[in-house]
Amino acid sequence: MVKIDVENLYFRYPEASDYALRNISFRIVEGESVAILGENGAGKTTLAKNLNGLLKPTEGSVKIDGVDTRSLSVARIARKIGFVNHNPEHQFFSEKVEEEVRFGLRNFGFSEEAADKTIREILSVFGLEEYRGKNPFQLSGGEKKRLAIASIMAWRPEALIVDEPTIGMDYAQKLNIRRVLRSIVSEGRCVIVITHDVDFAASICERAIILSRGEVIGDGRLRDLLSDDRLVEKASLRKPFLIELEEETGLNGLEEDFDTISSILMEVFQKCRS
């Protein structure tokens, strides 16, 4: 299973005078669910693109299973580490949902027979089988996001990086995406979520890496990091709702039953509105 080692990573864009990432070191191993958090411009997406080889370190190194990304093609890394862009429309070009999924499978040399079988399975897992023949651009925002993830997960990468999975999503769509990502984590695969949405991150990830101005200012258990007022303020974040609720009520372990509490709160909220 995959292992990502980042050692003293510095990254600077070709025309920039300053580094976008500075002195970053961490290790991500199989089965981990990691949230990369931070304010706008903190370097989250730049870091993600360094992890899957789209960008190569200016100094330091990123190693996938011990091999430096500088010596690997993006395609070879992508076979192990999938990357889902924040805008799913940046990847759609086929007329049909199934063809969109087939694209990656063809690139990675799956036979047509194996691809057909995989497409059937993955569309079913992601609840998209009824849209199989539909144009991807005609799907809803949540469905597009699910299709984007499905078309990457089709070739079963060992790790998945998802950039801003909840942008423009309503509550129900977020729940669907959360269900999908949780199922990937439960398979023992590594999931790295880049997001501003701390509630969403808290509902999926055990670990958080917090960035501020290109530097890691926190790396550890998500719950511990996001309980730290100073750190949360420095990264321009806020505490997840459940941590705030625990602090207010003095109750502990609410995150253990996130789904139940979320649905109770939704019910209360809807009753209050009506």
Partner: protein
């Protein structure tokens, strides 16, 4: 796409940046026409040298140089077609120089003039606002479209797409997963911008005013003079001395 960097305005305080866009535009057009009309290597070299001076004055030499990497592909195409269809290495060099002179003649102008300034200059020249506004928007959106292209390209590479793989036909076919999302996104954005403009009453008043009227200064008259001298020089070289 990196050659587009040579056409992206950079805010700087230089004598070239301070010039009126009309005088810069005239000189730029003259330089462009001269580089099209002549094939003599000495004229083309002189043109490129002159433009290098302009780029140095505009403190934009670095941007221009970094864009050359993008032009390398076109130089390669020129050389290959020349060698395939009966040309020589010399004609390849001349045509590449001409392309360099041609792109540089526009490059220093766009690097030193804001899209708004260019639009104002076109309006002053009497062109309809619909045309000047579209032109300004097109220029302003070049970097946006470039960023979007890069993002789409990265996304498709993350799905195993390798543009550099296979023969020429295969490479063209491989471009489709990049070009289609780019085209769809651009068309969508066009409609959104049109709506955003309409809700802010674009075109409601036929008489438009500007809060920064253009004024010619002494430096602009010098540029006009230089343009006229260049035209005369080009005519003399062509008609009197018969320079190719």
């Amino acid at each position: 796409m990196s050659f587009l960097r040579a056409f992206k305005y950079r805010r700087k305080d230089t004598p070239v940046h301070r010039l009126d866009p009309r005088s810069k535009f005239l000189l730029s057009i003259v330089l462009m026409v001269v580089s099209i009309v002549f094939t003599d290597i000495r004229v083309l070299l002189a043109l490129v040298a002159g433009q290098l001076i302009l780029l140095t004055l505009a403190k934009s030499l670095r941007e221009w140089l970094s864009s050359l990497r993008g032009l390398l592909f076109f130089f390669a195409v020129i050389f290959v077609t020349q060698l395939l269809f009966g040309g020589t290495l010399y004609t390849g060099i001349v045509l590449s120089l001409r392309l360099l002179a041609l792109s540089s003649s526009m490059s220093w102008f766009f690097l030193s003039s804001t899209p708004e300034d260019i639009g104002r200059a076109m309006s002053v020249a009497g062109l309809p606002i619909e045309l000047t506004f579209s032109f300004t928007m097109a220029i302003r959106f070049i970097p946006v479209i470039y960023d979007e292209f890069q993002s789409i390209y990265d996304t498709q590479r993350s799905r195993g797409l390798e543009l550099e793989k296979g023969g020429f036909r295969n490479r063209i076919r491989n471009l489709m997963p990049v070009l289609i999302p780019l085209l769809v996104g651009t068309i969508r954005r066009t409609y959104e911008i049109a709506d955003a403009m309409e809700v802010r009453a674009f075109g409601a008043s036929p008489k438009r005013t500007t809060y920064r009227p253009l004024r010619l200064k002494s430096g602009d008259y010098l540029v006009f003079l230089a343009s006229i001298i260049l035209i005369i020089l080009a005519l003399v070289l062509k008609l009197v001395y018969g320079v190719e």
